[in-house]
């Protein structure tokens, strides 16, 4: 078993602590907030994730450009990504928390999230046992660790700017009252 240095573990604890405070203050550790987002009745989670990605994108690409960091992306393997996304989305709709917010919900005192976390550990164990047989499916359609700018031979900055602009426009259009996403919800009817 590989063990990181105490300093690095402490750094992880501090970063995680800040992440936990943010998720709790963002009301993302609550079942009803997450399920209302999935039902398109509330936009809290989309606002948090969109803003996080847009703000993060500027800084991370600046760090990469100045040589202070390297991108760390997951490989684009169509089988694993699409299959995993479908199971993930279905499971999240039942649990009502995502993995990070399950941990934050436990911190907030939500006992059902403990059952969720135990289920997550069981699901991971099942994955480990199934992995040898699953491997060919997971690795079907392997495009490697590719980013959209790399795939299109473009600079990342137009992408970063577009993401920022999309979040700004989205936030400007988002009504403050209930009945959010009314047009989008009508499409589902």
């Amino acid at each position: 078993m590989r063990v990181d240095s105490p300093g690095r573990l402490l750094m992880g604890l501090g970063t995680g602590g800040a992440f936990g405070v943010l998720l709790q203050k963002g009301r993302a550790a609550k079942y009803d907030v997450i399920v209302d987002q999935l039902l398109l009745k509330d936009g809290t989670v989309a606002k948090i994730m969109g803003t996080a990605a847009a703000v993060g994108s500027f800084g991370v690409h600046a760090l990469v450009r100045s040589g202070h960091a390297k991108l760390e992306v997951k490989p684009l393997r169509v089988g694993g990504i699409v299959g995993g996304a479908v199971l993930f989305g279905t499971g999240m709709a039942v649990l009502g928390y995502c993995p990070g917010t399950t941990l934050a919900a436990i911190g907030e005192g939500r006992r059902d999230a403990i059952a969720g976390a135990l289920g997550m550990l069981a699901g991971a164990g099942l994955f480990v046992s199934a992995y040898p047989k699953l491997k060919p499916v997971l690795e079907a359609g392997d495009f490697g660790k590719v980013t959209l700018p790399q795939a299109t031979h473009t600079s990342p900055w137009p992408w970063v700017t577009a993401l920022g602009a999309a979040v700004l426009i989205g936030s400007a259009l988002s009504p403050a009252r209930p009945r959010r996403f009314a047009a989008l919800r009508a499409l589902f009817r």
Partner: protein
């Protein structure tokens, strides 16, 4: 410190905070924020200890690039739990309901039924996360900000499936 005693912050402020936190994690740990890898390595380590002769576990250990470890990301998970605990305490919030309001309205007040649902949902969600090597944090936030092809495929498929699944679950409900 008074900010910590508030019940909630604006979702945009929280999002900007998470974005800035990811600069920090890239600059210091050289890693993006992610949650589910430690669940996989913990499960692998447990299976290795409890059933060392299980051939599937050995085949996993020989071919999978995630090895059992106690690392920065494990500490991150513990930190999320602790940070949320401190944040809720500072605000005087303590959520003790075992069955969330929306769940009870649709599936009734039974605690065992909620725990069983949460367990099964959690298992399915984590199985999917490890198939895709990421979750709402690792793909949805960290991968999307890096413009990763994998994450820009995962996120819309995940969001659409979750929206359809929750609609199917709550279709006949009061909601």
């Amino acid at each position: 410190m008074t900010a910590l005693t508030k019940t909630s912050w604006s979702p945009y402020a929280v999002g900007a905070g998470i974005g800035a936190l990811s600069w920090l994690s890239f600059a210091t740990a050289k890693k993006p924020l992610g949650i589910t890898t430690p669940f996989e390595s913990t499960a692998a380590a447990l299976e290795q200890t409890l059933a060392p002769r299980l051939t599937a576990v050995n085949a996993y250990l020989a071919t999978r690039d995630e090895v059992p470890k106690l690392d920065w990301e494990c500490a991150l998970c513990v930190g999320v739990l602790a940070g949320s605990y401190l944040s809720a305490r500072a605000a005087g919030v303590r959520a003790t309901r075992a069955v969330p309001v929306g769940w009870a309205r649709r599936f009734g007040p039974s605690v065992p039924r909620r725990y069983a649902g949460a367990f099964l949902g959690g298992a399915l969600m984590m199985f999917g996360a490890r198939m895709a090597k990421g979750c709402t944090s690792g793909h949805g936030i960290s991968g999307v900000m890096q413009m990763a092809g994998s994450s820009w495929l995962f996120s819309p498929v995940m969001a659409a499936t979750a929206a359809l699944a929750s609609r199917a679950l709550f279709l006949k409900g009061v909601r």
